[in-house]
C-alpha cells in the first residue's frame, strides 16, 4: 500500500493538518502536499479510468506529464474538470471527484470494453461506424457522444475573476531549476532585466531531489543561495506558480500565473495571463522521464522512477512497501537508493542493459539491493493494484525466469528534454543516438525580426542531464543570450559540481525486445487514451507512415497530457515497425499551450459588458424606458420594436407599421453611417466608389447609390447628398460605416494617393430621426423654423435650417414609401429633438417604430436590403438595378468584374416579388424547387427567397427572391420547400407590393 512515512518530506509541514474530500470521502493531508501526494498518503492509488477500456488508472508521474490523475474539482460556479492531481496544491476544503467511470471508480461497467479490446484496436471507430450509413446519426453518434469526454462540463458561470498583464523584459527565463537559476544569475549580472518563472510553487526543480554537490554546497543550499542573490537585484523578477505557456513570433511569450489556485479564498484574480515581450528567451524547462513499454505497465502502482523518488523526498510518501525498479539508465538507481534509505524494500533492480550501471550500481549493491543486468519485466501482475512482476531476459521473447511479489514498480526509460517551448516558434531538433533523445539544434533556433535566434534552451532542456554539464550549459547559454542583446557577457564562473559517474543509457522501446502479440496487446503507450504498442504497429501495417497520421489514427498523444509522457516511445515504436530511423519518422508538432490553461485566463477581463462595448445612440435612454426589444446590428443594439403591455413582437410590429402608414411614425436612424468626403477630387473619387455617377449630383440634391467590391459584388448602399462644391455626405448601412470608411481609406492611400480627398466618419456626430407618414410635414411645420413644403424641399433634396429651435439638416428621402424626412441634429441635442417630435406628434398619435417595421415597410415597397437581397455573390444587375449603374463612366470599382462571362450570363437568378397563393409567409431562405435531381441526388433548384414578411398593410405574406429568368416569368406559379418537407406555391409578381406609382411619398 502507499502511505505517509514517519519522517521525511522536505515540502510538507507535518504539524499542520489539511482536510479534503475525494469522491465523498473525508481525507487528510499536510500543508505543502500536492493533491497527488495527499491521495497516495491515504493509500488512494486508484484515481480514474482510462478513456476507451475504462481500465483502472493510478498516479504515474509527479508533474505536468501526468496522464491519469485528472479530477473534477470544486462545485457549482467554482467547478472545473480535468484538474491534474500532480499539479494541484492541496488546500483546506478541497473537493475532487475522479472521472470517466460509472457507477463508481471501483466498479465500472465500461470496463467491459476491455474484454473486447481486441476488437477495439486502432481506427476502430473509423472502421466500425461507417456502415450502414443511417446508423451513424441515430445509433452510433448518440452512443459515442454519451461515452466520450473525461470530465464534466461546468453548469454555472465561472465565479472567479481573471486578468491579463503586459510586461517587457530583456531576458525571460522559463524554469526555476538549477539551470534556470544559474542562467538568470548569469544574465542578471550583465545588467539585463530578467524575469524568471517557475511553474510549481518551489524553486530548484529535480536537482534538490536528486542530490549531488555544487561548489561544496548541497543542491538545496545552492538553490537558496542563488535565490537570495537574485532577490536583492533590482533588475530581476522572480515568479513561482507561473508557467511558460507559449512562445510566439518576435519574442512574444505567454506566462500563465496561477495566482490563487492554492488559496481559493483569497481576493483578487484566480489566474493572470502575462503577455510578455522578451528580447531573449531561455527555456530551462528540464526533462521528463519516459515510461518503459512492458505488459501491464498501466496497472496502478507502476510509476515513473523519478516520481516515486519525488514522493518520498518531497512529501514523505511511499508509493509501496516493496518497489521493483526497472530501467535502461543509471538515474533510476537513485530511486532504489532513496527507497532503501527510507527503510523501504527494493526486491530487485532490473537493468535492461547488459553492462549495467556505473558507480550508482555499486552504491546500490553495497546497500544490499539485488541488481540484475540484461533483465526485463515480462509482465506485471495485478488488477487495480500491482501484486508482483514476472521477470525475463530483455534479449528474449518473455520466457518467465522468476516471479517476485511487490506492490509498486518504478520504471525509467530514459529522459526526454522538454523542448516544447523551444519548438513552438520553429526551433528544430536533432536525434541524439548516444543520449537517446531529441535535443535542440542550436544552429536552427527560432528566429526573430532580425533573423537571429531568440529562444535558447539551457540545461536538461538542452539535453544535458549531469549536474556539472547542466551548470556549464546554463552559464554558456545565458552569456550568449545577453551578448545577442548587446550586453557585455559577465565573467560568471561555472560552479564546480560533483556527481556520480554514469554509464550510457540504452534504447529500450519494447520489453522484452522480442515480446509477442499477447504481451504487446497489454503494453501501453498512451495511458489515458488506451493506445498500445500493438495499435501503433497495426497502424504501420495498415499503411500509416506519417507520424501525424498515425497520431490521429491511433489517438496516440492526443490525450490531455498531449504526449508529454510517452510520445517518444510511440515514435520509436512506429519507427521500428516501419523499419526506419527515429529521426526519419520525426516528431509531431509542438503547439502551445504547454499544458492546458483556463478559458478564464484567456478571456481575462473581457467578459460580460466589457467583452464588447456596445454603441448607443443619443436616444438610447428613451428606448430603454419605452419597451424597446433590441436586436444586434453591428456593434449597436437597435430596437426591433417597442412592446406595449402584453403585446407579442408581431403585434407590436403590426401596430407600428399601420400607425406609420396611417398617420405618423418616428425611427431612430442615428446608427446609419455618415461619411463626409471632401476635396477637389472628391467627385472623381466617389465616381470610382459608387456604380452611379456622383460627381454630377447638384448641390442640395440627394442620390441613392450602390457600392460594389472590385470583384463586382454589392457591398453597401445608401443615399449620398452633395453638400457644397467639394463636399459630399455618404450615408452607409448601420453595420457598414467603419468598413466603408476603411474601404475608402484603402483606395485613397494605396491606389489614388495623389488625389486630393479627405474622408471623415461623422456617424456619431449626429443624431438622425426619420419622420415618416402622411402627417410628417404637418408635425415639422408645427415645430416650425424652416420651409419643408414640397416646393421648397422636393423629394431627394436636402436643406439646412432650424426646426423647433434645433439646428437641423433635413433630407427628404424615403425608405418606407411614405412622405418622409430624415433629420440630422447635433448628437448632444438628439434626445431633446426626439422628445420635441414626440410632443408635437402627440396629436397625430405619433408612433416610434423599430427595425422590423422598417424592414417590412421597405419590403412592401420592393426596396433591397444589403445582407438580405445581397450575400456577397449578388451583383446590381441581379437586382434589376441597371438604372443605378452609370453607362457614362469609364471606370468604377466592380465595373470590369461585372463584364466577366458569368456575370453577364442570362442564367443568373434575378430579383422578383413572390406571393403565396394561400397568403402564408414563405420560410426565409427557402429554395424554389425545379424538376429532377442534381449530380449529388439533391433536388434541383431555380431560385431562393431573400426577404419574406407578413405585411400588415396588405394582410398577407409578401416576399422577394432571386429566381432563374424571374423577370420574364411574371404570373408563373413555382414551388418553394418548407422545413417540414412540404411545398408551398407562390406566384412570381413585381417586387413592389405597395404604391407602385410612388403617389404616397411624392406629395
Amino acid at each position: 500500500m502507499s502511505m505517509r512515512l514517519k519522517t521525511g518530506g522536505r515540502l510538507v509541514n507535518r504539524a499542520s493538518q489539511v482536510e479534503f474530500n475525494f469522491n465523498g470521502k473525508r481525507l487528510f493531508g499536510h500543508e505543502g502536499d500536492m493533491l497527488a501526494s495527499a491521495l497516495l498518503a491515504n493509500d488512494q492509488m486508484l484515481v480514474g479510468r482510462s478513456f476507451k477500456y475504462h481500465r483502472p488508472r493510478g498516479i504515474v508521474a509527479s508533474g505536468a506529464e501526468e496522464p491519469n490523475a485528472l479530477m473534477n474539482m470544486g462545485e457549482g460556479a467554482k467547478f472545473e474538470p480535468n484538474q491534474r492531481a500532480t499539479t494541484t496544491e492541496l488546500f483546506e476544503g478541497l473537493s475532487v471527484g475522479s472521472q470517466n467511470h460509472w457507477p463508481s471508480l471501483e466498479y465500472d461497467i465500461g470496463a467491459v470494453n476491455g474484454l473486447f479490446a481486441r476488437f477495439l484496436s486502432a481506427g476502430f471507430y473509423y472502421k466500425m461506424f461507417i456502415h450502414p450509413r443511417p446508423f451513424w446519426k441515430h445509433i452510433y453518434e448518440p452512443f459515442i457522444r454519451q461515452s466520450a469526454g473525461l470530465g464534466k462540463a461546468p453548469t454555472e458561470k465561472d465565479a472567479d475573476t481573471y486578468e491579463h498583464l503586459y510586461a517587457f523584459y530583456d531576458v525571460v527565463v522559463i524554469g526555476g531549476g538549477i539551470a534556470g537559476l544559474q542562467a538568470a544569475r548569469t544574465a542578471a549580472a550583465s545588467g539585463a532585466s530578467v524575469l524568471v518563472m517557475e511553474q510549481t510553487a518551489h524553486w530548484g526543480g529535480r536537482a534538490v531531489v536528486d542530490g549531488g554537490e555544487i561548489g561544496g554546497q548541497s543542491t538545496e543550499d545552492f538553490v537558496n543561495d542563488s535565490l537570495e542573490k537574485l532577490a536583492t537585484m533590482d533588475n530581476v523578477t522572480l515568479k513561482t506558480r507561473m508557467m511558460g505557456a507559449g512562445v510566439y513570433d518576435h519574442g512574444y511569450v505567454l506566462g500563465y500565473e496561477r495566482v490563487s489556485d492554492h488559496a481559493p479564498k483569497t481576493t483578487g484574480p484566480r489566474h493572470r495571463l502575462w503577455r510578455i515581450r522578451a528580447g531573449q528567451i531561455i527555456t530551462a524547462t528540464g526533462a521528463i522521464e519516459r515510461p518503459l513499454s512492458f505488459a501491464g505497465n498501466d496497472i496502478p502502482g507502476v510509476m515513473l522512477a523519478s516520481a516515486v523518488r519525488d514522493y518520498v523526498v518531497n512529501w514523505g510518501v511511499a508509493v509501496g512497501d516493496r518497489t521493483i525498479v526497472v530501467t535502461n539508465n543509471d538515474d533510476a538507481y537513485r530511486t532504489a537508493i532513496t527507497l532503501k534509505q527510507a527503510g523501504l524494500d527494493v526486491p530487485v533492480i532490473l537493468d535492461a542493459r547488459a553492462n549495467g550501471a556505473g558507480s550508482l550500481g555499486d552504491t546500490a549493491r553495497e546497500m544490499g539491493i539485488r541488481v540484475e543486468y540484461g533483465k526485463a519485466i515480462a509482465k506485471v501482475k495485478g488488477g487495480k493494484r500491482v501484486t508482483g512482476v514476472a521477470i525475463c531476459a530483455q534479449a528474449g521473447s518473455g520466457g518467465v525466469l522468476e516471479e517476485i511479489a511487490c506492490d509498486a514498480v518504478a520504471m525509467s526509460g530514459g529522459w526526454s528534454p522538454v523542448v516544447h517551448l523551444y519548438s513552438h516558434c520553429g526551433g528544430k531538433l536533432n536525434w541524439d543516438d548516444q543520449a537517446v533523445m531529441f535535443r535542440p539544434d542550436l544552429n536552427r533556433r527560432p528566429t526573430d525580426q532580425n533573423g537571429e535566434g531568440f529562444v535558447t534552451p539551457a540545461g536538461s532542456a538542452n539535453g544535458e542531464l549531469a549536474l556539472s554539464a547542466v551548470l556549464a550549459d546554463a552559464t554558456a547559454r545565458a552569456k550568449e543570450a545577453v551578448k545577442a542583446l548587446g550586453h557585455k557577457a559577465p565573467s560568471t564562473r561555472i560552479p564546480e559540481a560533483s556527481e556520480a559517474g554514469e554509464n550510457a543509457v540504452e534504447p529500450v522501446w519494447l520489453m522484452p525486445q522480442g515480446a509477442g502479440d499477447k504481451l504487446r496487446m497489454k503494453t501501453w503507450l498512451d495511458f489515458q487514451n488506451d493506445v498500445k504498442v500493438s495499435d501503433v504497429q497495426l497502424a504501420a501495417r495498415e499503411g500509416y507512415e506519417s507520424v501525424e497520421h498515425t497520431k490521429r489514427y491511433t489517438t496516440l498523444g492526443m490525450a490531455t497530457d498531449q504526449g508529454k509522457l510517452s510520445n517518444i516511445n510511440g515514435l520509436a515504436t512506429l519507427a521500428d515497425a516501419l523499419n526506419a530511423d527515429i529521426p526519419n519518422v520525426g516528431t509531431t508538432t509542438f503547439r502551445p499551450p504547454y499544458t492546458p490553461i483556463s478559458m478564464g485566463a484567456i478571456a481575462g477581463a473581457a467578459r460580460d459588458e466589457v467583452f464588447q462595448p456596445l454603441r448607443q445612440t443619443p436616444m438610447q435612454g428613451w428606448h430603454d424606458e419605452n419597451g424597446a426589444d433590441y436586436e444586434p446590428v453591428g456593434h449597436w443594439r437597435r430596437a426591433y420594436c417597442y412592446r406595449r403591455g402584453s403585446e407579442t413582437r408581431a403585434q407590436a410590429v403590426e401596430r407600428e407599421i399601420l400607425q406609420t402608414r396611417k398617420s405618423l411614425g418616428l425611427l431612430d436612424a442615428s446608427t446609419l453611417g455618415k461619411l463626409v468626403v471632401k476635396g477637389p477630387d472628391a467627385g472623381k473619387f466617389l465616381d470610382m466608389m459608387y456604380t452611379n455617377m456622383m460627381s454630377n449630383l447638384a448641390v442640395g440634391k440627394c442620390r441613392y447609390g450602390l457600392m460594389c467590391s472590385e470583384n463586382g459584388f454589392l457591398m453597401d448602399d445608401g443615399v449620398v447628398a452633395r453638400i457644397d462644391e467639394d463636399t459630399w455626405l455618404c450615408h452607409t448601412t448601420t453595420g457598414g460605416a467603419d468598413r466603408i470608411h476603411a474601404h475608402m481609406e484603402e483606395w485613397l492611400q494605396t491606389e489614388w494617393w495623389d488625389w486630393k480627398v479627405y474622408v471623415a466618419n461623422m456617424t456619431e456626430q449626429f443624431a438622425q430621426v426619420a419622420v415618416v407618414g402622411p402627417n410628417a410635414r404637418k408635425v415639422l411645420e408645427k415645430l416650425g423654423g424652416m420651409d419643408v413644403s414640397k416646393e421648397a424641399l422636393g423629394f431627394m433634396q436636402w436643406a439646412d435650417g432650424t426646426l423647433g429651435g434645433f439646428k437641423a439638416r433635413v433630407y427628404r428621402i424615403s425608405f418606407s414609401g411614405e412622405l418622409s424626412y430624415e433629420i440630422a441634429v447635433p448628437a448632444n441635442e438628439g434626445r431633446a429633438f426626439w422628445d420635441a417630435l414626440l410632443e408635437a406628434g402627440a396629436e397625430f398619435d405619433v408612433m416610434p417604430y423599430g427595425t422590423e417595421a422598417l424592414h417590412v415597410m421597405r419590403a412592401e415597397k420592393g426596396f433591397i436590403m444589403i445582407g438580405d437581397e445581397t450575400d456577397g455573390t449578388v451583383i446590381p444587375q441581379d437586382l434589376n438595378m441597371q438604372w443605378a449603374i452609370s453607362k457614362k463612366k469609364e471606370d468604377f470599382l466592380g465595373k470590369r468584374a461585372q463584364e466577366r462571362s458569368h456575370m453577364v450570363s442570362p442564367d443568373r437568378w434575378k430579383l422578383v416579388g413572390l406571393e403565396t397563393l394561400d397568403g402564408s409567409v414563405l420560410p426565409d431562405g427557402s429554395y424554389a424547387v425545379a424538376p429532377g435531381n442534381n449530380a449529388n441526388g439533391q433536388r434541383n433548384t431555380q431560385g431562393r427567397v431573400t426577404s419574406t414578411y407578413y405585411s400588415p398593410t396588405l394582410g398577407r405574406g409578401i416576399a422577394m427572391g432571386l429566381v432563374h429568368n424571374g423577370p420574364d416569368r411574371m404570373g408563373e406559379v413555382i414551388e418553394f420547400n418548407k422545413v417540414d418537407g412540404s411545398l408551398v406555391k407562390a406566384k412570381i409578381v413585381d417586387q413592389v407590393f405597395y404604391d407602385a406609382e410612388g403617389a404616397k411619398q411624392n406629395v
Binding site: Q449, E710, E745, E746, W753, D891, K895, R896
Partner: protein, 109 residues
C-alpha cells in the same frame, strides 16, 4: 505576434494593432483589360517561403497603410516603408540582397 514599425508614426506595432492587407505592389487592372490580366490582378497571389512583400494598416494607431518586406520562413523583417510607391525602396532591396543573395520576387530582385 509580429512586431512591425509603422513608417508614418514610428510606433513599433504589435500585430494586434495592425490589420493585414495581403500582398503588396499589386497593379490594378480595370475596364478594357484582358481576362487573364484581370484574373491575375484579383486572385493570383505569391505564397513564397522566404522573401515577401505585404500590406499592413496601422488600424489601431495612425490609420495609415504601409508595406513590409519580410521573410515568411525566418520571420525576419527587412524593413517597412510607405505604401505610396510602386516598388520597394532601394535601401530595403539592398538589405534583402545582403541577407538573401540572389533573391527575387515577381519583378523585383
Amino acid at each position: 505576434m509580429l512586431l512591425l514599425e509603422c513608417p508614418y508614426c514610428g510606433a513599433k506595432c504589435e500585430e494586434t494593432e495592425l490589420s493585414p492587407g495581403g500582398e503588396a505592389h499589386i497593379k490594378r487592372y480595370g475596364p478594357g483589360s484582358s481576362d487573364q490580366d484581370f484574373e491575375a490582378y484579383l486572385f493570383m497571389r505569391e505564397n513564397p517561403k522566404g522573401v515577401h512583400f505585404e500590406r499592413w494598416r496601422h488600424v489601431y494607431g495612425c490609420g495609415k497603410w504601409f508595406h513590409a518586406a519580410r521573410c515568411t520562413q525566418s520571420l525576419e523583417v527587412f524593413g517597412t516603408y510607405a505604401a505610396q510607391t510602386f516598388e520597394p525602396p532601394q535601401e530595403i532591396k539592398d538589405k534583402i540582397s545582403a541577407k538573401r543573395p540572389g533573391w527575387s520576387w515577381r519583378d523585383f530582385s
